[in-house]
């Protein structure tokens, strides 16, 4: 009886990724889907057939925010501008780095929002203080005159 090489076929899935690789990488992306930092992922291949996985940012652009590629046994993680963030042959290390990068992205967004809030609050406080100062000055100026009239 001829044995069909089924296992090899089964192990290789979309775009040259193995099921195990996809499971682990996609699991590490999950938090970004939950917090709205990403809208989905897609796979593709390079000219020479190396698999790539693209994490897509939010609507309306759905642009790539992280890209994982496998070159031989090396995993390369890049951001959407092509900056290399990580390169290693360990899938587990890759998944941990993806999680950390996404956590930092979220932290950066929170930090920016917090800073913006403080700037707005500070500007508001300055305006209110100026207004209060002005009315206090007016009160000091006119109060004796009003008292004299009374």
């Amino acid at each position: 009886m001829k044995v069909v090489a089924f296992s090899a076929w089964w192990r290789r899935t979309a775009g040259g990724w193995t099921r195990a690789e996809l499971n682990q990488v996609v699991a590490s992306l999950a938090p970004s889907f939950e917090n709205g930092g990403a809208s989905g992922w897609e796979v593709g291949v390079t000219e020479t057939g190396d698999p790539q996985l693209y994490l897509l940012g939010p609507a309306p652009d759905h642009e790539c925010i992280l890209c994982v590629s496998r070159l031989g046994s090396l995993y390369v993680l890049e951001d959407g501008a092509g900056r290399v963030l990580f390169e290693h042959d360990s899938l587990r290390a890759l998944a941990e780095t993806v999680k950390a990068v996404l956590r930092n992205k979220k932290a950066a967004i929170v930090a920016r929002a917090t800073l913006a809030w403080f700037v707005v609050r500070e500007a508001f406080a300055e305006k209110v203080e100026a207004m209060l100062g002005e009315s206090e000055e007016l009160l000091v100026h006119f109060a004796p005159q009003l008292a004299a009239l009374a």
């Binding site: 390079t46 693209y54 609507a59 652009d61 890209c67 590629s69 390369v76 959407g80 290399v84």
Partner: protein, 101 residues
């Protein structure tokens, strides 16, 4: 009724435009006789994976490196940037360059 203004690009449109840009870049690279690896080398990139990301329509050529890409592909930088703008931001391209009929 006045003309309707659309403020946000529809997702499929932005994606399709990036895909078209990628196809155009791939064509330019082919014309220049370069592989993705060779182009990455000319751009000073450690890996060629970003070229693939852009050509597959998932990423964009960053503005700060458009000139380097143009020279590597043998295209005039202003022509290159203008063509990419027509894909990446068609509305801005229309405002800047549309010729009145």
């Amino acid at each position: 009724m006045g003309p309707r203004t659309q403020f946000a690009k529809a997702a499929p449109e932005a994606k399709e435009q990036r895909r078209l840009a990628g196809a155009w870049l791939k064509q330019l690279r082919g014309r220049a006789g370069l592989s993705q690896i060779e182009l990455a080398g000319r751009l000073g990139l450690k890996y060629y994976t970003f070229i693939s990301q852009v050509e597959n329509g998932f990423g964009r050529v960053p503005t700060e490196s458009m000139e380097t890409w143009a020279r590597a592909l043998g295209v005039k930088p202003s022509t290159f940037a203008r063509q990419l703008l027509s894909y990446y931001d068609p509305e801005l391209h229309r405002i800047l360059f549309e010729v009145r009929q």
